[in-house]
Amino acid sequence: MAEHAKRLGMEVSIAVSHAVQMARAEAIAAYPITPQTHIVEHLSSLVANGDLEAEFINVESEHSALSACVGTSAAGARTFTATSSQGLALMHEILFIASALRLPIVMAVANRALSGPLSIWNDHSDIMAARDIGWIQVFVENGQEAFDHTVMAFKMAENSQVLIPTMVNMDGFILTHVVEALEIPEQALIDRFLPPYVPRHQLDPKRPMTMGAFAMPEIYLEVKMKHQVTLMNSYDRILAIWEEWGRLTGRHYQPVERFRTEGAKILLLTMGCLGEVAAVAVEELREQGLPVGLLSLRLWRPFPFAALREAVNGAELVIVCDRALSLGGGAPPVLAEVRSAFYSLASRPAMLGYIIGLGGRDVSPEDFKEIVARAQKENPEAPSQEFFLYGVRG
């Protein structure tokens, strides 16, 4: 435990709003949507009670929320928003604009299924529909990580060599609504870690400039290339920031987290808080003598190609567990990405895809054990299906 840190019990949503408070956000614009509501509800109380000196902008939709954030960030304010599911979908066009303008907005996404059918429960279909928005995208597994990564997201986004909006994905309800124990560092530590935001450029009537100019075909490609290169290059900065946080708090984070991967022939790969559930299954399977390990993808964008290849090293089979469906497609999003990371290599593991926990379907360690058992029965060179919808009836 870091010096002077406090161990407290609280709902994870509330922990996220404390992270935003302690990061001294200056502008917040958000629209409530389940299961994100508690985050912004608590932030609005903090602002109303004078516990956070920030502008809280009430808006009539998520489209407006993110538009307002574009404005406050462009004006040089440290800016936060949060949303979920349909809200993220309604933000869609502004998501691209925020990243193209290189505005370091931080957003918490309480991951929830997209309608229809209408579902308020957890999966990753919301973020997968917004995969290509040019933001840094991180996934967390528990309340402590939700707190830590919300604080770190500001530092990542605002790094003068990065300046890319950053999204912290946390599973709705099964993570956001749980009261659990976590460690809150003292304010001085966070202030040391995260100095005030100094914008490289900002809206200023005294120094007029154009933000969001249109681009002719002659220049659009170059602008996109710059964005792509900057996003990929942000990787090293992100790692350096995580390392600094690790030194301060003792909590170390990796783009691909490994659990019991030593000598593993079979690897489960998950993203989000089901990784911890899978870890319970992996421990039990190891006790039974099965060489199973677990990889948990923490960094989704920029995608950690090298780290993933290194982490998979030696395994014969990777079982990729997606939380979203690519309707009409051959592989769900995480499987497609992981496969593409290995396709060009001469030696690569076999891969099978299982879709789990859609629309809030409960996933227990027993389910992961069952997936491993079923995967072992498949011929990975010619699986019986392109991917498997685990648990579907009929």
Binding site: R7, L8, G9, M10, E11, P35, I120, W121, N122, N142, D171, F173, I174, L175, H177, V178, V179, E180, A181, C273, L274, E276, V277, A279, V280, G360, D362, V363, S364, P365
Partner: protein, 185 residues
């Protein structure tokens, strides 16, 4: 790890109960998770709330399928939810009922260890309202010793402010009056 499932109706405070207990356990240095059966909140509808308490970090993110303890805030739910069906063999049932333990056993066929208290009467007398969630925490603590009653004091203050004292008093009264009987195989 101890897993507890609360059975109540929307508005009876089952979720508040698990949150308070989780906070009490965390304040004692333990690890805990308190969470509702997620979904739209509907007053009167049967709801579940879950509590896990452990000596180290809890990695599960699923519902409690086979609880060690079930707590029933509203006995009218027994016929609807059959809450004891997936209770572990050595499990404990904590029930709010004005009936005696033997009457309860006869009526519902419960074989597990049973703790019964008339929380409605206590809540009406101490709190002035028949809201039994904090009262029933006393019965749970009596039956399981999951946390010390004193550990609830701080979370209750945080949650209820000036009303915390009455809630703690109701909890303590239930602790005193709860009847516990070992399992009857």
């Amino acid at each position: 790890m101890l897993e507890i499932r609360f059975h109540g109706r929307g508005g009876q405070g089952a979720v508040t109960s698990v949150e308070l207990l989780a906070l009490a356990a965390i304040n004692e240095g333990k690890f805990a998770q308190g969470f509702p059966s997620f979904g739209p909140e509907r007053r009167g509808a049967p709801v579940l709330a879950f509590l896990r308490i452990n000596d180290h970090h809890i990695r599960l993110r699923c519902k409690v399928a086979h609880p060690d303890v079930i707590l029933i805030l509203d006995p009218s739910l027994i016929r609807i939810q059959k809450p004891a069906m997936d209770l572990k063999a050595g499990g404990v049932i904590v029930l709010n009922s004005p009936k005696s333990i033997s009457e309860v056993r006869r009526e519902y066929g419960f074989k597990h260890t049973l703790a019964v208290v008339d929380a409605n009467t206590i809540a009406r007398e101490v709190l002035g309202v028949p809201i039994t969630n904090t009262t029933m925490l006393g019965a749970l603590i009596k039956a399981t010793g999951v946390v010390a009653v004193e550990s609830l004091e701080h979370p209750l203050k945080e949650r209820f402010g000036p009303l915390a004292a009455k809630n703690l008093a109701a909890c303590k009264a239930a602790y005193e009056k709860t009847q516990v009987e070992e399992a009857r195989p």
